[in-house]
Structures are given as structure tokens and as C-alpha cells.
Symmetry: C2
């Protein structure tokens, strides 16, 4: 049945949903009333239309400037540079960071054709107008993340701004025995004096 296959396809294309789950969702959709469907489609439409990127930091926002950038209580001296909005949410949940963010929208990845041109970099440079004292690089610790870190360190050099990088190491609750050698190396390299 073409219409059923089309419906399953819609959900199978979403990230993390396999064919089997998509089928299950499609049947669930078919059992909903027309009102429920209208409400659902309307929410998707309204959200997609109403959520944009903050003009300062690139975070998601319902307004031109996001809640974090427009929050007077945040420390405007520190900018934490992240890859995506998901990372902002993760740091916010941790309730340990009270500065600002800058969302790059990816990292330098020449193999996949992503260059500095594709990232939200110009806005970052514009923000470094003297009030910013520290930039924390919080990209995922992989090859592309390190490449991007190197690039950012280079362009931030000579601007009299402290540049730091989040620590890599064994996750809390993790197990040394089962930790990969790269992480183990990082955990030694980044060791902290305790006395």
C-alpha cells in the first residue's frame, strides 16, 4: 500500500528510528483522530517556523537573541565554544557553567567538506571586543575537534584572551581497565596536583 509505505518512510528517515519502529509509529498515527493529527502537525510547523538561531551566539532561540545571551546574570567575560546546540543543553543541565556560549555549528572536517567558511566563526571574532577575558574550547575530543581547537587557538592568539580547553579523561563512574589508551593517555597528561 503506497500511502502506508510513504507514512513509514517519513518516520524511518528520522535519526535513530529503524524500519520496524517507523512501522510501529505509522500504525499509531493511523489510529489517532483527525484532531490529534492536526494538533501534532501544527506543533511541528509552529516550532519549525518559530525557532531560529541567536544572532549573537548561534544557539536556538524563539527571539533574535537567545535566553542565555540576554540573561544579565550570566558572566559576560567567558565564552564557551561548542559544536552544536545539543552541547549547550548538556552544559546547561550540568549546572556548572554560568558564562556565555558560542555555537560553531560543526567543526573543521576537510574529509567531509566542512571548512572554516561553513562555521559560525565571524560572529565569534566580532564578539571578542575586549570584554571577553576567556574562551573555553569545548569541542568533542576527536581529530576534527583537535583540528578546530588548533585553528581557533591560532586566531585567538595575540588578542590578550585566555584560551582553555575542557579536560579529557576517564568519565566519572568509568573503569580504568576498560578505558581506551588515548583517553588513558589524556588522563595522565592532564593530571591535576592535589597537594
Amino acid at each position: 500500500m503506497k500511502k502506508l509505505d510513504d507514512l513509514i518512510d517519513v518516520f524511518a528517515k528520522l535519526p535513530g528510528i529503524g524500519r520496524k519502529s517507523a512501522q510501529r509509529i505509522a500504525f499509531d498515527i493511523l489510529e489517532k483522530s483527525e484532531n490529534e493529527i492536526d494538533e501534532m502537525l501544527n506543533t511541528i510547523k509552529t516550532s519549525h517556523f518559530g525557532i531560529k538561531h541567536c544572532k549573537i551566539c548561534g544557539n536556538l532561540s524563539e527571539n533574535d537573541i537567545c535566553e542565555i545571551c540576554s540573561d544579565d546574570k550570566r558572566d559576560k567575560n567567558v565564552i564557551c565554544v561548542v559544536e552544536g546546540v545539543r552541547d549547550v543543553i548538556a552544559f546547561e543541565k550540568s549546572d556548572t557553567y554560568f558564562g556565555l556560549y558560542h555555537v560553531l555549528g560543526g567543526k573543521i572536517d576537510p574529509l567531509n567538506g566542512i571548512t572554516t567558511e561553513d562555521l559560525n566563526l565571524k560572529n565569534l571574532i566580532n564578539r571578542l571586543d575586549g570584554s571577553v577575558k576567556e574562551v573555553i574550547l569545548a569541542l568533542n575530543p576527536d581529530l576534527e575537534g583537535e583540528t578546530t581547537n588548533l585553528y581557533l587557538t591560532k586566531i585567538l592568539k595575540g588578542k590578550n584572551i585566555k584560551v582553555s580547553k575542557i579536560a579529557s579523561g576517564i568519565p566519572i563512574g568509568g573503569n580504568i581497565e576498560y578505558t581506551d589508551i588515548l583517553t588513558l593517555g589524556k588522563s595522565l597528561e592532564g593530571r591535576i596536583d592535589i597537594e
Copy 2:
């Protein structure tokens, strides 16, 4: 952000999708272009509106009568009674059954308030007009399935129709050691002479 939470909620309400997956899907949605979103919403709307239940068997169909009921090559002498349309799809995939189906839309389940009134039973009785020689009961082998089997056997009695029930037992590739005792009992009870 209310709009983002609303969007996540839409997907978190779908079956088999947790909060974390719903969040991932929501971000994916936000990255789509307006055209892609319109196409997606349109497909959902069209499918929901265009797929109905077959007037004969209750299977999903784009027309009044489903593809199976209107297929001349199917054996009209046998009706396989199933709980839902998913079961029809499963049997069709197995490519081992060539008769007709009847979708009950559930099974008798007094604890959850589902009685014979809520099932697609009248249509089934109407179909037993003499051309049908066998009814195969293919409900899931649990308490409610057995209750429904008993009820159906009772109303089919005296109609000069053969009533059968699909076999329960150890699944192909299954392991006797790890099979629950009820299934083991059924596998013995339903043993087949091999010589």
C-alpha cells in the same frame, strides 16, 4: 524554550521513542528546510486521511475493499482471524498463507474493558455465508487470546466450518533450555507425528 519542548513532546509521545531520542529528532527537524517540513507534514496528513479499514475484513486499505479481499487469486475458503493489521503484514511477509484475513481489532480483555462489542465480530459472522470452509484462529497465545479463541469457537460451532488454531511452541532457532514452561508444555501438547 517552550516551542522546543513542545516539539520534543510531539515525538516523545510516539510509541518506542524516549525523551532522548525525541530530542535528537527535534533537532533534526529544526535543521530541515521549510520545503522538507511541508513535504513531511503533507505525507502524514495525506496518509492519515487516505488510509481506512477494509469494509470486509478490517485490514488497512486505500479503497473500500483491501488488496487482499479483492485479489481473485486468494483462497476464499479460508479466513485467518488476527488481532491487528500488523499481524496481517507479518503473515503476508511469511509468504505461507494465501487465504483471506479477518482483523478483530483487539481481543476480549475484560480487565481493560474490551468486550465482544468492541471487536469487529459482526462482520466476521456475516462473512460465514457458506463459502468459507475453515477459520484459522491466529491470536497471540496469551490469556486474552485464549479467551477470544474460546468465544469464537463457541459462536462458530454448528456452522459446519472447520475451526483451527495456529500452533504454539518453541520458535525456530529458539533454545529449549531457555524456553518458558508454558511454551514447553504447549510444544509437547501440540507434538506432531513424524512417522
